[in-house]
Symmetry: C3
Subunit: 137 residues, 3 copies
């Protein structure tokens, strides 16, 4: 069994942002040399998500509106009594998920026609990391 690991770093300018990271993950899988296996891609921070969906600008706005309507940044959160202002981000990340696991087949991401991997930042403006771990052979 082979294993391989890389960290991807992100520093978004705005508080919330949706970044297509598929090319970076493809490069890591290629680098790993794994032909058949699994790749885990997870946010290493707890106010960000990694998820898979379409890369379509309208949809990214729909996600933004849905999440902000359901879990407004400006609402009262007990977590913010610690001096933080990111209570909403901890909840938004639960909705969108921490991680994806993707099959590797013939050395590539085994994807349907529209699947793209996104890093969703809900408390940006600073450097944060995503872990890519490949296992297989």
């Amino acid at each position: 069994m082979k294993s391989y690991r890389e960290e991807l770093w992100f520093h978004t300018q705005s508080r919330r942002e949706y970044v297509n990271i598929t090319p970076q993950v493809e490069r890591v899988v290629e680098q790993s040399g794994v032909q058949e296996g699994l790749v885990l891609v997870n946010a290493m921070h707890i106010t960000a998500s990694v998820y898979i969906n379409d890369d379509e600008q309208g949809l990214l706005q729909d996600y933004e509106h849905f999440l902000e309507r359901l879990i407004p940044h400006a609402a009262d959160y007990q977590h913010n009594l610690t001096g933080e202002d990111n209570g909403d981000a901890h909840i938004k990340r639960q909705i969108m998920g921490r991680e994806v696991v993707v099959a590797i087949t013939n050395g590539a991401l085994d994807f349907g026609p529209w699947e793209q991997i996104f890093y969703a930042e809900f408390d940006g403006g600073r450097r944060k990391r995503v872990l890519v771990k490949v296992i297989g052979e």
Copy 2:
């Protein structure tokens, strides 16, 4: 390490439908010959989910009502300006999840008493796929 891959195809008649796919996944695991490992089961389309919960008709109605109340099909979505009418389905799928990873122990799905794997379709009426990828030995 062994690996094995199959696609399952679904064509639901209605827009939204919940299909218990546990028997199909069990068959793929058996076919793989893997005794100890993991199986990844994921929707290959971005308007459908794979999730694990109870196979109880009332519960399936509760999921349907909850998701449609929170993310109505008829609401306005930016995504629908592309000519699509499935903006809601892209969001519903995020709530219910893209994938499950299940342990394989002694050649079988390592499940609690009520765990069942479901394919949840949110934009049906056409042929769509689920990927089953098994790794282990």
Copy 3:
């Protein structure tokens, strides 16, 4: 390839409770002897979640308020016509997730600075299980 499996048992006193299970998972990973691989941690019951986020009391209250506001225990659920009273718990668990997959690197959980694994109980007061499955080498 090595594999290793353990069940963790929980019996919460209250209906809903959030338990940090990181030390138990760390012990299982150590016990497995796996240096590089993946660990799957999943609720074996369908009214509980395993998720990763911060161990901060205010945040746990925020999760509780958010989930109970969105999916009240006392609302009408079709599932409850079976004689159960846990329709809400089956939906809450979908929001928070069934499982996490964590990378193992150099024999330890490969975590960002604040990641902690939680067992979230939504229908407690009885003994329930979490599965920990390790694969790697």
